[in-house]
Every structure is written in C-alpha cells, then in structure tokens.
Amino acid sequence: MNGAQAMVKCLEAEGVERLYGYSGAAICPFYDALLSSKITPVLVRQEQNAAHMASGYARMKGRAGVCVVTSGPGATNLITGIATAFADSIPLVCITGQVVSSMIGSDVFQEADITGAVESFVKYSYLVRDAQDLPRIMKEAFYIAESGRRGPVLIDVPTDVMACEIKKYVYPDKVQMRTYKPTVEGNGAQIAKVIRELEKAERPIMCVGGGVALSGAIDEIRAFVRKYQIPVVSTMMGIGAMPSGDNLYFGMVGNNGRPYANRAVGESDLLLVVGARVADRAVNRPDLITENKVLIHIDVDPAEIGKNVGPTIPLVGDIRHVFRQIDKSEIHMKDHAAWINTLCEYRLRTQEVRAKAGKAYVDVRAFLETLSLRMDKNAVFVCDVGQNQIWSTHYFKVSEKGRFMTSGGMGTMGYAIPAAFGASQARPDRQTIALCGDGGFQMSMCELGTIAQYGGDIGIVILRNNTLGMVMETIHSLYDSRATMVDLGKDTPDYKKIAEAYGMGYEMLDGKGDMEQALYSFLHADGARILEVSVDPRDRV
C-alpha cells in the first residue's frame, strides 16, 4: 500500500462518502487510488467552490466536509473557501497535493507554500514529510476539525509521500495530542453561578449564534427557552436556531438587525450569549453592553469569551453538553410574562419598512415571505451575500424543521450556489434552495456545469437588479451617491440562455407576473432550475 492508498483508506475509515475537488499533476496519485474506493469524487469547476460545497455538505451532515485539490494554483484557489469556513467554524478537511519533497522551496512549477499561506485561517495544518505519519495525521485532522470549536484543517501532501510504500497501515482508534484537549463539559461551579443569575433575572434574553446548530443543540436550546419562557434573539449565524414564527423569537440583532431585537437586548437585565462571538456586526458597542446587565457568555472557544466584551460569567463548553448539564437542575425562574409581553408590543409597534418597488419589479419582501411559506417544511435555504442576505434574514421565515445557511463571518459572495449543492448532496431527501443576487450568481455561475453533470436537484433564485446593491447602499450613505464599480451592465447575461445551455429549467418573474404561479412551478420542478426575479435597483434593505 502506498501513501495515496493509505489516505483513501483513512477517508473510508472516517466514513467519508463524497468529496469535492479538482485534479492536477500533484494530486493524481490520490485520485488514482480513489478509483478503487466507493467514495464519490465530485469534479468542481473552480477550487474555491470545492470548499464551499464541502462546507454546505458538512453543515447538513454534521461531519467534516472533504475537498482535495492539486498544488500551486489549485491550493491557492481554495483559500477563500477555507477562510469562509474558518470564519463560520465549519469543519473541513482540505487535502492539497504538493511538489516532490526534495523540490520544496525551490519555486518549481505549481509550487505554493500553502501551509504558510493559510496559517491564519485554519484550525491546524500539516505538511506531511513522512508517509508513515499519514494515518495518524488523517485521524488527527478529522478529530481537530470536528471537535471543540469546529474549523478547517489542511493537509499538504507531496507527491513522493503519496507514492511511498506504507510499511504497516494501522488507522489509530484514538488521537493522542498533548496540546489539544477541548473543553466539552461546562464547569460545575460556573453552571451553578449561571443558574443563580438566571433565577434573579427579571428581564432575561438569550442571544443564539452559529454555535447552536454546529453543536447540534437546536432541540436542547428550544426546549430550554420554552420551558423557562426566555425570549430569544439571534445573530445572523444563529438564524434558524429558533423558528422565525416562534412567539419567543424576536429576530436578528445588530446593525442590520431588527430594531426591536436590539431594543430587547438593550432593556434586558440578563443577556445569555450562546455560541456567538459578540462580533462587530451583531453588537454596536460591546464595551457598553454590560453597563446595565449581567452578561453570561457560553462558548466552546475560551478565546472568544472576553475577546470583544468582558462577561460577568464565562462558561466554556460545548453548547449541547452545557444545556444538558443545566437541565439537570430545577431552576426557579421569575415570571417573565410581562417582559415577553413588552417585547411582543415592541415587535408589533414596529412599522415594517415597505419600500415601494416600481411596478415593473417584484416586491422582494413579499417574494421572500411567500417563497419561505411555499417551500417544504424541512427545506434547506442558503442565501448569498449582499442585499439578498439582509432581506433574507428579515423576511425569510424559517420553519420548525427548516435550515437557514449563509456565509456570515467572511461574507463571501458566490457561497450560496456551491454550498446549496453540497447541502443537497448531503441530504437529497430535503428540498434545497439557493438565493443570490446577480453579482454573487456570476461569481459561481461556472458551477452550473458541476450541478448539471452530477444531476444536482436544487432551485436557484437570482434577484436581478443589474447592480451590486449592497455596495450601492454604502455609496448612498457614505459617498454622496457617486455610483462607481457597482453596475453589472444591462441585461447581460441572458439567464434564460444560461439555463438552457446547462439544460436547466428556467422561470422568470417580474412585477407583472403571477408570483404564486411562478413559485409553484419553480418549487415543484425536479432537477436544477433557475428562477430569475426582477427587483428594483433603487430598493434598499
């Protein structure tokens, strides 16, 4: 058995069924070895999208997504995908081919120092020097990616290492690393303190982040807040931890959030931050937040606690474990009915901004609401970055069993289509819809080839306004409306022809069209299809 065959064996031992990648000279030994495996490789059109697909796949599978690309440009193209996964703590194992060990450092053809390049946005990386280390490294990589705060791990493997004979292949059962022991269980004394504060609180609120879905704690969190009647707000990554229509849910916080969500946080006397970073987009002035309230911060990553805001009570641990621990005690909460009523009133009194779309265009707010209501109850929705993302956070209603995914931390345009395709391959039983603007669509348009080739079954909605709308909004508010670098040209490309070229279904909806009918045929069609929605370029989030 050579190194490449051992790598394939390791992936099989990890239960990997599918991986995303792009071939090239330096990774050929691996793909050759993969021929004799049941693992299905998916050939993407550009490496960045291999990482996004693996990310969507990982988020729906609850296991690390795998992508495998060649050295040099293959590896560097992967970088944005890795950084995107790192910012949202998505577990990935990324394997890159590397030039022959003896040539490393001499700038030979397709050589790139990829472990050096990705250092600041991987959880860990390896440059494999000795083929005999491969089983241990593969085992560690999956363990690191999938435990503690999840994240991408990169393994760079020179071709000679892949060709080298493995003396004795044994896939280790356990990882032994003296430097890595993530805290899973919460500290008992800290939990007792949290409970004491919860019992004192009159106006508690919980802010959920991406950590809730990542630790598989959605059920635990919902059960907890419903049992104790604690209102909930969320960060962008936390959307879907609570169903949008839940009486206890008060929307997304932050500068793009709901005013009543921010007001709820402001007026609370106890804020329970769960699996969130308290990042700049969510909290305007983190330094002021503890002025009038007790702040409890629960996170698996101790470095996040206290990074942006000093909590009253820090609690390190995996959310699911921590809430199971908390649930073992009987908590005597105060009655929060009046507080919840106040928040309901704030929500009710908020006048929705209903920007009037010109007659020729579709009212995007009504469209997103209707789309979410007509989708399957357990559908997966992936939105891109830009106006479409902010509109989605407000108007898309996540149902009890639905999933909402997006690139939150990095805000990577072009994420939605590959991520949705990956998600649909992880869960072919669930309807998957990607939503993007015409900017983001054109960034990952090449992947329509992959989707068509592998029989992808996803719906793609393009909100078309021929403009980089979100940048346009920044220009309006900060640069005196001097529009520059935002115009995508008028009516190019022709999306109908694009769909035709890839053999995909196509629907078009403008202000004159029948929204219900367009959505019905779009949502009930099989296979990959595109719905082009004409939205007003003057509309703002």
Binding site: T115, G116, E119, S120, K123, Y124, L127, I144, M177, R178, T179, Y180, D301, P302, A303, G306, K307, G310
Partner: protein, 162 residues
C-alpha cells in the same frame, strides 16, 4: 502593562512562524522573542515579552493556548521573574581608552571575549536594564557591531513548584 510569556511548544518546523504570525495578525506587540530547546529535545521554550492593556494580555494568553503546537503557557510580571539578556558588542579601541573600557567592563560584570589589534568584543549577560546601562557607558567609544539575544526568563522559585 508589560508581561512575560513563557511558552512551551512542540519542537517542530514552522512553529516559530505560527506563533510570530499570531502576534502580527492579532496586532499584538512583541518587545522580544527568544526560542531555544528545553531539557526535552522535542519541546522548545519561547520567551516572549509583550505589552498591552489587560484585555490584550488576556487575549494573547488565550490565543497562544489555542495554537495546537503550544503545550503550555505561563504568564507573569517582570517583577515575578528572573530575566536575562546576553549582548555581544564589538568596539574599536586605542591606547588612550583601553584602560577605561576594561574598568567599565569590570564595574558592569562584562567580559572581554575576543580581541585583535584595534578591536575587542565584549560580552555582558544581565537584565535588560543593565545591558542598556552598559551600552550607555560605552557611548563615546566607537561601537562597531551589537548583537543582543532578547530576554529569557523564568518565574521566580516558589515553595511548591510544579
């Protein structure tokens, strides 16, 4: 606030770059950074002197602990540490100042470790403060080259060490 971090790391290729990269990426200061093997060949000790406000100091320790090549981080104040720095300094001398230089070396516990006709190399190993002082004393003499190690430090001995 100045702090000393004594960081035990895996003695592997690339670890220094990872730790140094962490400081630059997170916008943390490095006043000095010294690496060397410990009694175990697979473990190196980095002594890093850094400064910043309380939150920065805490973040540095947490971020260091997050690095998967870091085995252990000890953070302490200068006052709680014994710290040393080694400096080699090459100076040009002549008949008139030779005696003077030797006297200064004696006062400052520095040693002359190499000599040629016209040049001598002096070694001093002391706290950063004393090393600085010695440099001041040498002012007025023509200094050719200076090499300093930066600070190495260990926490002061206590009753119960572990």
């Amino acid at each position: 606030m100045k702090k000393i971090y004594s960081v035990l790391v895996e003695n592997r290729a690339g670890v220094l770059a990872k730790v140094a990269g962490l400081f630059s990426r997170r916008n943390f200061n490095i006043d000095s950074l010294v690496v060397g093997e410990t009694d175990a060949h697979d473990v190196s000790c980095m002594t890093i002197v850094s400064s910043g406000d309380e939150r920065t100091i805490e973040q540095i320790e947490k971020q260091l602990n997050k690095k998967l090549d870091v085995i252990k981080v000890k953070t302490f104040r200068e006052a709680d540490a014994i710290d040393r720095e080694l400096m080699l300094v090459k100076v040009k001398y002549n008949k008139t100042n030779r005696r003077d230089i030797m006297e200064n070396c004696e006062i400052c516990h520095a040693r002359i470790v190499d000599m040629s006709r016209g040049y001598m190399m002096i070694q001093i190993c002391d706290t950063t403060e004393k090393v600085e002082l010695f440099l001041q004393v040498l002012k007025g003499i023509s200094i050719v080259e200076v090499a300093r190690t930066g600070t190495v430090a260990l926490q002061k001995c206590r009753e119960n060490e572990r």
